[in-house]
């Protein structure tokens, strides 16, 4: 396994690290894995999670590329004199990475992964590029809903610790209450949705249809301890149930973890879960035949 720095994009403004498996692997036999920034954290990921994922998959024969989107980490915005459209920029940046891997490694198929906004962005890129055959959203998409609030906190109301946290101002419930107030102010919610590129239920289901029809394999991983994020599965649960077994997205919920999978044992559990999902993906040839 070897790691190399790469400068990507037309103006070479994107900084990435490519992890290349040992020479005995023919990297063209597998899709490459691309890791997208988690929020504003640079390509190393929270607690070095992306480094661990990259090295794990490289030992399995996958080329892995972690990189910084324009304006995040070490990557500059390509032309700072012009207005930068973040929405299309994310798609274009990731396409540049796929182009680079196609040109230099002859790899034609890709799996995109990311935590938080990294997962949501991976989903959006997949909807716009048919080279993507798999997407793993770790804590992807967040949208505060009343139903979710009620179900999440029904158990907590009985807990002494929850009350102590609430009264000492340490509970994230204040954040949720603030979020709920905003949620019910529909104008603000629409604005929030637009600013954060959070899809509406209809948009999400339509995009899910696009990906399922293309036979893109999907995995949604949620942390049960992360109440602000663990809500989207309610929206697509029915859709997933209706999807044939062979194409059904995997939805996994890890108990007791936080949003960033901070504890080492939670990082390990997450990495094993992602690896297990990748291990069970159809071989590239099979995907091509079905498509």
């Amino acid at each position: 396994m070897k790691e190399k720095t790469v400068l990507l994009g037309k103006s070479k403004s994107l900084v990435g690290i490519i992890t290349i498996p040992a020479p005995e692997f023919d990297v063209r036999e597998r899709p490459a894995i691309i890791l997208l920034n988690s929020g504003l954290l640079h390509r190393v990921g929270p607690n070095r999670l992306y480094v661990k994922l990259a090295r794990k998959f490289a030992t399995e024969g996958f080329v892995v590329l972690r990189f910084d989107l324009s304006g995040i980490g070490d990557s500059k915005i390509p032309n700072e004199s012009q207005a930068y459209d973040e929405s299309t920029g994310i798609i274009n940046d990731t396409r540049d990475v796929m182009d680079y891997l196609s040109e230099t490694k002859s790899i034609r198929q890709f799996i995109l992964m990311g935590l938080c906004s990294g997962g949501s962005n991976a989903f959006r890129v997949a909807c716009n590029d048919e080279r993507v055959i798999g997407v793993n959203l770790i804590e992807g998409f967040a949208f505060p809903s009343t139903a979710y609030f009620a179900s999440s906190y029904s158990g907590s109301f009985l807990s002494f610790k929850s009350w102590r946290r609430l009264l000492t101002g340490k509970s994230e419930i204040w954040g949720l209450i603030r979020g709920l107030i905003k949620f019910h102010l529909s104008k603000q919610t629409r604005q929030l949705t637009e600013n954060l590129h959070v899809p509406s239920k209809e948009e999400l289901l339509a995009n899910l249809d696009i990906l399922l029809n293309r036979n893109v394999r999907l995995c949604f991983i949620y942390s049960k301890g992360s109440s602000a994020y663990y809500n989207y599965q309610d929206i697509f649960e029915e859709k997933i149930r209706q999807t044939p077994d062979s194409r059904r997205p995997l939805v996994e919920v890890l108990e007791d973890t936080d949003h960033l999978f901070t504890l080492l044992c939670h990082q390990e559990a997450l990495i094993n879960l992602v690896k297990d999902w990748v291990d069970h993906l159809p071989q590239p040839r099979e995907v091509t035949e079905i498509a």
Binding site: K4, T5, V15, V44, R48, S171, L260, T262, L263
Partner: protein, 265 residues
């Protein structure tokens, strides 16, 4: 800006090398030394901006990740204070080779400042050092980190005790605190340094430092030129660095670049 791997192929270090953008080139190269753990994650943006400011002032700059940290080789479990001090030396040699300059300036925040001071005391080519909220006592620092981890666990996990140990290794906010790293940290005390660490020293206090008076006095006795400044309003960086990754303490960054520029004349 050029991302590079340097050092040996067995123990590669990731760095970002910057050429000066100004018309003149300063007489020292600048090596930026990161803090560790969560502070590393949240300081990345500030260090990038600091590097850019230095290049605009005419400096060659290298910021880099220690072995077992960031994009560098090695696993987090391999973190080792002695290795990190060697890494700083390797980075100093790297920037001297690349820039053809004979002297360097080291800049570090928290543990990065502490390691800069320790590395400086073992070399004779460190012209100036900026110590930004240095960790004075490694023992106190470990206690502080463990307390922070416990508070995080109490606020974020259903069972806080679950967070204390994992496979026999103590962990701190997502990073392992191995016995090697723990003992390395606990062996650090900046008040025990007996050699000069640089020709000129600039210490910035932005958070709460229990022993800065003692450290000021001690460092003054070891060097001819010692400057100290308290720049308030950025205590979030030491108390809750994760609260706002977008917020960068620009006054401190400007102050560091101005002082280093003056020191290089």
């Amino acid at each position: 800006m050029n991302p590079i791997y340097f050092g040996t192929s067995e123990m590669p270090l990731f760095g970002t090398y910057y050429l000066p953008q100004a018309n003149l080139t300063r007489s020292t190269g600048v090596v930026l030394c990161y803090p560790m753990g969560e502070e590393y994650m949240w300081m990345h943006r500030a260090y990038r901006q600091l590097a850019t400011l230095f290049t605009r002032a005419g400096f060659h700059v290298l910021r880099f990740d220690y072995y077992g940290c960031g994009d560098s080789g090695g696993e987090s479990e391999e973190a080792d204070i002695n290795q990190w001090l060697e890494d700083i030396s390797t980075a100093i040699d790297e920037i001297k080779d690349s820039s053809a300059l004979a002297k360097v300036s080291l800049v570090g925040f928290r543990l990065g400042a502490t390691l800069s001071a320790l590395a400086g005391s073992e070399r004779n080519d460190v012209d100036s050092i900026v110590l930004w909220d240095p960790v004075v006592s490694g023992k106190d620092y470990v206690e502080e980190l463990l307390k922070m981890h416990q508070e995080w666990a109490e606020n974020n996990l259903p069972d806080p005790n679950f967070a204390s140990k994992n496979n026999g290794c103590i962990e701190i906010m997502g990073f392992p605190l191995t016995s090697r790293l723990g003992s390395g940290l606990e062996g650090i005390n900046l008040l025990n340094i007996e050699k000069q660490i640089a020709n000129k020293i600039y210490m910035i206090e932005s958070g709460k430092m229990k022993t800065n008076g003692l450290l000021n006095h001690h460092l003054k006795s070891l060097t001819k030129a010692f400057d100290f400044r308290h720049i308030p309003g950025s205590k979030n960086w030491t108390e809750s660095p994760g609260l706002d990754p977008l917020s960068v303490p620009s006054e401190i960054l400007q102050s560091i670049v101005s002082w280093t520029t003056e020191a290089s004349l």
